[in-house]
Symmetry: C2
Subunit: 512 residues, 2 copies
C-alpha cells in the first residue's frame, strides 16, 4: 500500500509538471570533527566544583515525597519541610557509574532508529508553542489540524529524526487528554521516535504504552529497548516540581530516555554571567541525572542544556545570541565531562521567518553542531522564542539543517577527486563544464538546496521575485501534497484507537 | 572640529528623541580558538603535491612580458610564445622564505591600523558590484552618490575594518579615471585602509599615492609601512592576465599588500571536486605569491581563496553553500601550511536581503571564522552573487559580524563570574533580576544587537510588525544621519584634490 500510495503521489506531482522537492536521503548524521572547546580543562573543573558546591551546600528543591524518599534512602541529606535535597559529590559520581554514554531510541520503523551519543546528531521539530503561524493564514492558536500537518512535514523531511513535544498545543481539545490525540498523530502520521510529555506519571505512561503498541512490544520489552524520550525542564533556579519529578521517575522506571534540561536564562533564572549560569545548569542537570539512576540504574539519560540570556532592558528572553551560542558549545564540554549524551537547542526570538530568525537560529545551530549536540531539539519551526510554530520557518530550518549535514560530510582527497587529468587538459582560461571528470560527477557533486534560488536577478524577477519566506510557503504546501502516510497494520491502528478510547474514558472529559 | 561635529550630531539625535544605534566599540578582532581542521595532514600534503604537479607540469599563463622575464631570470622554464611559466617546487619554497606570516596596514588614522595574520580577523565592505539596491529606491546602476553613502556606512560601523574595491561602480563617471574619485571618497569620507584597484600599473599607483598623501608620507616611506591592499583575481584556470600581472608587480614594487585570489568555481573554472579545486587554487595562489617575491622579497602577500560551486543545472555561481563553507575552512589550512595570511569571503547568491541571503552568508561566514580568515573580504553588503551592493544586506551583515565578534570573546571563569554568592541567595524558583551580582553587571553583560527585535509579538505588531529587512532600511538611514566625516587637514585635502585633478588631466577624458 505504501508503495502504491507513493506511486500515486509521484504521479500527482508529475501531473502538475513539477518535480518532487529535492531533499537529502534518510541518513545517519555524524559530526566527524572534534568538538569545539571554548572552556579550558581548568575552567571546566572550576564550573564542576562550583556546581558541586551548589549541590552540597545550597541544595535542590524537589516537590515530590517519592523523590525525597529515594534521595534519603540513598544517603542524601533531606529536609522534608522545605523539600530540599543536598547531594554530596560521591552520590553524583556513583550515579555517573551507571549512566550510558550512548543509547538508541527505536520507533516502529527500524530504519528510523536513532543513536543518542558519540558523534551522532539528531534534529527534532519545535516543541511546545501555544500558537501556529503561516504567511497565508496568519497567527492563530494551536489546533489539531495544524498539529497533524506539522508532524506530516516532520515525517516528510528526512533530516528531522524525531518529533519533539507537542509542535503546537491543540487548544480546542480537553487539556487532560489531548496528549493522547497528539501521541496518536505522532505514531500514525509518522514512523519516527517522539517525545512524550512527562508532566506527571499518566502522560508519560500513555506515551510509552502507545509507542509499545506501535512496535508490538510489551511495556516490559520496551524497558531495555527504549523508543521515546522526554525533556525534564527544571524550574530553575534549583527546583524540580512534582509533575516533572513524577514524570522523570516514570520514564526512568520504564527505561525510557530523559533529557534533564535546566532553563537557565542568564539574568533571570540564573546569574547574569555565563560561568555562573553554567555552574547552575550543571548542578541542576546532574541532580536530575542522579534521580534517574536512583530509580533505575542504567536508565537512559541525557545532559540537557538551554542557557541563553534575556534582553536586560526588558527582561524578555533572547535566543541565538552570541552568549547562547557559546553556552551551546561549552555545555557540550560539560556533558562530555560526565560521558553523557548531550541535548541542545537552536532558537530565535524573532517574530517572523525573516533574516533575524535566520541569523539567530544559525548562530545557535552552529553552536549546537560545533558543541556536538546529540539531540538538537526545537530544530525546525521555532519562532517568537518558542511561542509559535511557523510553517515557513520550518522550511527555512530544514534547509539550514541540510546545509549543516552536507557541511559535515568529510572532504575526500584521492586521485579521482584531485582531478589532475582534467586540470592538465583544460586550457588556461578555459572551463571544466564539458570535461569527462565533470560529466561523470556533476549530478551529485554538490548539495542541491530546496529553498535557495540561484536564478539571476532578471529571471528571478520574471518568476515573481519571491523572497525565501514566500518560497517557503510554496514548499510546505507542496511537501504536504507529497507527504505519504507510513503504512500501519490495521490491527495496530485499532489497538492504538482502543487505547486512546479507554484512556479518555478513564481520564474523563474536561473542558479545553 | 571632529569633536564639535560629533557633539552636534549627537545633539541632533537627542533632539529627535532617538538614541544612537548601538554598536560594538572599535576593537581588534581575534579568534582565540584553534582553527578548525577539515583536512588531515596527509590530505593537505596530497593537495600540496597535486598543486606542485600543476606548477611543474601544466604551467601557468602570464600575459605580461615583464613577468615572464622575471620568472625566466629566476630560473623558471618559460615559453614566450604561449606565455607559459613552469615553476619547480624549489622556487616556491624559496619565495616562501621571504614572505611575511603577518603584517600591518596603516591608514591615516593610526587607531584604524589593522593586522593581517595570526589570529586577527578583519572585515571589509562588498567590492565590485555593478548595481546598488535598497528597499525604498529599488535596484539601480552603481553611481557615485551611492558609492559615497556606502563608504560612509563602512566608516560609521566599527566592525568594518577596511574598504574593499569599489563598493559599487560609479558608472556615470569616465571608466578610465573613476578610480580616482572612488579613492578620494575612500580617503576623505573614511579614515580606514582601503583596497586599490590593480587593473594595471596606473590605478595601483594612484591608490598608493593617495594613501601616502593622506598619511603625509612619500611613496618611499610607504614601502616599508604599507597602507593599502589589492586583490589579484586569477583568471582561473591557470591564467594571469596582463593588467592583473602589472598591478600585482606594481603593488609588490611599492611594498603594498596583495591577496592573490584564484576564482575557482567548482564545475566551471575548476574541477567539480573540492580536492581538485583546492589543488588548482593552491597552485594559482602560490604562483602569484612567487611573483610578488621575485619583484620584491618580503613584499606583503596573502593567500587568497574563493572556491565555491556552481548550480550544475544552470551553471550559475552559488555562494554560502556547504561546499563553499568547507572550502573556506580547508583553504585556511592551506594558507597556514605556507605561513601566509589568509583572505576569504562569505557570500550568497540570493537576490534579496532575505532568509536565503542570511543563511548562505552565515554558512560562509562561519567557514571564514572557523578557518581563521585574516581578511574577510566582501563581508558587508554582498547580494546577488556580488552583482549588487545592498544597503539592507549591509546592515544585516554588520549585525552578523558583530555576533561573531562577541562569540569570539572568551568565556571568563573566576569567582565573580561563577556567582556562588548570588546562587546561594536566590531562593529555589526565584529570580536573579534584583541581585547585586546582576545589577552590577547587567548593563554590559550581554551583546546588544542593533537589528534584532526582541519585543513580544503584540508589541512588535503594534510597532508596525516590521521584519528585519524593513528595520534594516531604518537603520542605514539613521546611520547615515549619525555618520561623522573624519577630520582632515585642509592642506591634505587640497593635496589630494590636486593629485586627482593632475591625474585626470594626464589620463584625459573618456566617456563613461
Amino acid at each position: 500500500m505504501s508503495t502504491e500510495r507513493r506511486r500515486r503521489s509521484s504521479e500527482r506531482s508529475q501531473g502538475r509538471g513539477t518535480a518532487a522537492i529535492p531533499q537529502l536521503p534518510l541518513r545517519r548524521v555524524q559530526n566527524p570533527y572534534p568538538p569545539m572547546a571554548l572552556l579550558s580543562a581548568d575552567q571546566i573543573e572550576a564550573i564542576h566544583e562550583a556546581s558541586m558546591h551548589i549541590l552540597e551546600n545550597f541544595g535542590i528543591e524537589v516537590m515530590s515525597p517519592r523523590a525525597l524518599s529515594l534521595f534519603e534512602k540513598a544517603g542524601a541529606k533531606v529536609d522534608h519541610a522545605t523539600q530540599t535535597v543536598w547531594l554530596d559529590r560521591g552520590m553524583v559520581a556513583d550515579a555517573l557509574k551507571t549512566t550510558q554514554s550512548s543509547y538508541t531510541l527505536t520507533p516502529r520503523n527500524l530504519a528510523r532508529k536513532i543513536n543518542l551519543g558519540g558523534n551522532d546528531i539528531n534534529f527534532t521539530l519545535v516543541a511546545g508553542p501555544p500558537n501556529v503561524h503561516d504567511m497565508e493564514r496568519g497567527r492563530r492558536a494551536g489546533n489539531y489540524a495544524d498539529y497533524c500537518d506539522l508532524v506530516r512535514l516532520a515525517q516528510h523531511f528526512n533530516c528531522i529524526h524525531m518529533i519533539g513535544n507537542q509542535v503546537c498545543a491543540p487548544v480546542e481539545m480537553p487539556a487532560n487528554s489531548r496528549h493522547l490525540d497528539t501521541y496518536f498523530a505522532n505514531v500514525t502520521l509518522t514512523d519516527k521516535s517522539f517525545h512524550v510529555s512527562a508532566i506527571g506519571r499518566g502522560r508519560a505512561l500513555d506515551g510509552i504504552a502507545m509507542m509499545a503498541i506501535s512496535r508490538g512490544l510489551t511495556l516490559d520489552q520496551m524497558r531495555d529497548d527504549p523508543g521515546v524520550t522526554t525533556i525534564i525542564s527544571v524550574n530553575s533556579p534549583r527546583r524540580f516540581d512534582d509533575m516533572m519529578a513524577e514524570g522523570l521517575m516514570t520514564m526512568a522506571e520504564f527505561g525510557q530516555s530523559v533529557a534533564v534540561t535546566p532553563f537557565t536564562l542568564m539574568g533571570a533564572m540564573s546569574p547574569v554571567t555565563l560561568a555562573g549560569a553554567l555552574a547552575q545548569q550543571n548542578a541542576e542537570a546532574l541532580f536530575g541525572v542522579v534521580l534517574t539512576q536512583l530509580v533505575r540504574p542504567g536508565a537512559p539519560v541525557m545532559y540537557g542544556a538551554f542557557t541563553s540570556n534575556v534582553d536586560m532592558r526588558s527582561g524578555a528572553p533572547a535566543f541565538g545570541t552570541p552568549e547562547n551560542t557559546k553556552a551551546n558549545i561549552a555545555s557540550g564540554q560539560l556533558a562530555r565531562r560526565y560521558s553523557l549524551p548531550y541535548r541542545t537547542t537552536p532558537g530565535s526570538a524573532s517574530n517572523a521567518a525573516d533574516a533575524q530568525g535566520t541569523y539567530e537560529t544559525m548562530m545557535a545551530l552552529w553552536g549546537a553542531v560545533l558543541g556536538h549536540g546529540n539531540l538538537v531539539y526545537h530544530a525546525a519551526g521555532w519562532q517568537e522564542g518558542g511561542l509559535t510554530a511557523s510553517f515557513e520557518k520550518l522550511i527555512i530550518d530544514v534547509e539550514m539543517i541540510q546545509h549543516m549535514m552536507e557541511f559535515l560530510t568529510p572532504i575526500e582527497v584521492n586521485e579521482g577527486e584531485l582531478a589532475l587529468d582534467a586540470l592538465g587538459r583544460v586550457p588556461t582560461g578555459g572551463h571544466f563544464f564539458g570535461e569527462p571528470h565533470t560529466l561523470e560527477r556533476y549530478s551529485t557533486a554538490f548539495y542541491q538546496p530546496m529553498l535557495s534560488n540561484w536564478q539571476n536577478y532578471e529571471a528571478w524577477q520574471e518568476a515573481g521575485g519571491l523572497d525565501a519566506t514566500a518560497r517557503a510557503t510554496r514548499l510546505w504546501k507542496k511537501a504536504l501534497e507529497e507527504y505519504v502516510e507510513p503504512e500501519m497494520d490495521v490491527s495496530v491502528r485499532e489497538a492504538l484507537e482502543a487505547y486512546v478510547a479507554k484512556r479518555k474514558e478513564e481520564i474523563g472529559v474536561e473542558e479545553p
